[in-house]
């Protein structure tokens, strides 16, 4: 811990401080969006969006190596693919519900494969692993500004439209009879999730984004009384997981992203197992 604190204070290693600020900002997104993903049961959908992102990154890297203009960056490729994936999935899920899971898994696989193929054909070195697992210590100041802007927007939107989000997630049909634009809310949510995935994957990695969108919120769901409480608790949990993960990984020289997810996963499994045991005891005592 001491070593970590010293590194934080040391101006010659700004990446440690950036990683910490990034973790704090990301925790809000993981907590708030993760809670909505969890109660709406669209984790698979978020997974598909995040994996198609690899296709966009691969395509952008490939084009850049072939002499495309400078603005063709992996971030832009990721954004385009994420938004396209979100729109495709929402169109399918709104029009033909029975095909939703097929499309989600197809996009997941196709997106990843495209990424691998493009990266293989990109001259020079492009390692898919670095995009899958990210590196929180590589987060730049520019990334942080974007992340801060997104976090702020999400906070404002959720604050303003909390009751509508709650109603549309809990009972879409009823919300619709009250004039709540449930389809627009669903689309907006998917697009925000897509943008968040693009920004977050740069330092947590594609695989980790999904873990952090589901594990803290899933854990919070075990003891939260309402959606707002779930969002707050999931944010606090994300914060604890990311900061303690950073410290542990620094101390033991381990990959930070993987350590964070393992911590989050361990706590989630502990809660799930505890709930299971408590539930069994309760049914037994009733018999």
């Amino acid at each position: 811990m001491n070593g970590f604190l010293q590194a934080l204070a040391n101006p010659s290693v700004p990446f440690v401080r950036n990683a910490l600020i990034g973790s704090v900002l990301a925790a809000f997104l993981f907590g708030i969006l993760g809670s909505l993903v969890t109660v709406r049961r669209i984790a698979g959908l978020a997974g598909a969006i995040s994996h198609t992102v690899l296709g966009g990154i691969g395509l952008a890297l490939f084009l850049a190596a072939k002499g495309a203009p400078k603005w063709v960056t992996p971030m832009l490729g990721a954004l385009v693919f994420a938004v396209l994936a979100a729109l495709t999935i929402s169109a399918v899920s709104l029009k033909a519900k029975q095909r939703e899971d097929t499309v989600i898994n197809a996009l997941w696989a196709i997106g990843m494969s495209l990424g691998i193929v493009f990266m293989a054909k990109t001259p020079g070195y492009a390692d898919p692993m670095s995009y899958l697992f990210g590196n929180i210590l590589l987060v730049t100041s520019a990334d942080l500004y974007l992340l801060a802007a997104l976090t702020l927007s999400v906070l404002v939107l959720v604050w303003r439209y909390y009751r509508h989000l709650e109603a549309a997630s809990f009972d879409e049909e009823f919300a619709a009879t009250k004039g709540v634009p449930v389809t627009a809310i669903y689309l907006a949510l998917l697009l925000v999730i897509a943008v968040a995935i693009v920004l977050l994957q740069t330092f947590v990695g594609i695989v980790m984004v999904i873990a952090m969108l589901t594990l803290p919120a899933g854990t919070a769901g075990y003891f939260s009384r309402n959606l707002a409480g779930m969002m707050v608790n999931a944010t606090i949990l994300s914060l604890i997981f990311s900061v303690s993960g950073l410290v542990v990984s620094w101390h033991f020289d381990l990959p930070a992203g993987a350590v964070i997810v393992l911590l989050a996963g361990a706590v989630f499994i502990a809660f799930a197992a505890g709930k299971l045991v408590a539930g069994k005891r309760l049914t037994r005592s009733r018999l």
Binding site: V39, R41, R160, Y161, R163, H164, E166, A167, S169, F170, D171, E173, F174, A175, A176, T177, K178, G179, V180, P181, G221, S224, R225, N226, L227, G229, M230
Partner: protein, 304 residues
Amino acid sequence: MSDITRGGAARLASTSRPAAAVGTTTAVRTTTAAVRAHSEEQHLPHSPEHVAIWCKDLAFRYREAQVFDHVSFHVHHGEFVALTGKNGAGKSTLLKLIVGILEPASGEVLVFGAPPKKQTESIGYVPQHAGFDPAFPIAVKEVVGMGRLSGLARVLRGQKQEEIDWALEQAEVNDLRERRFSALSGGQRRRVLVARALVGHPKLLVLDEPTANMDAASEKKFYDVLARVKGNTTVLVATHDSDFVSALADTVLCVGQDVEHPHSVHRHALEQADHAPEELYGGKVVRVRHDIELPDNACCEGKD
């Protein structure tokens, strides 16, 4: 079937109408229009702004299946209507058309003279809520609070609190307000959803199979709540039991019961069911005479 129908209707009118139904439905007029040709233009006896629900020549289809074709009917203010029909006949679909979740392919549904989407304040909807997720963390008071929503308008803390308190009282769930919604029994959950629909004093309450999978005691309690609502509010309730409906019902509409016209909605007669055990049905019931079709204006005597 016309002779039997008319004879039966006449008999019902003179003798065996259930007490509960006499007040508002009024006697059945015998009329030669009892059997209507479905292809011809159907005339409704009232203009849309004089009735609660006005449905004319409605057609609806899901991509592969025709659900409704040439459906016309109307429901008066303050009427209690039971909507019956087999599973898959289209009861839920009809309710969703009436509350504005679905749009008709052709024809018109008007609620208090306006399209349902413009009447969100007047309509209280109790959906089946079959996709309810028990892991959703939410308290009863928050579920009922959703009744305050109106489009994207801001909902403030404490807004319409009296209305929420009133709705909780009406549905007899006031003592449950702090409880987790998922911890309630099925019957309690249904009453909470009724409370939510009652926030804002809707003029029309629409319920989709609210007593499905409910034991008789819960069902009785549920209909006690509806009895309190009846009169001030027009009630349209879909029910899975198509032979008997609650004695609260003034009118029964049957979806898809006609073999020749499976995509239609018909008004059928009600008669007293002396031998139906109340403990089995959670209260007084009346029998639906599916063999007796009534004309669409059967409910109109004494009304403008």
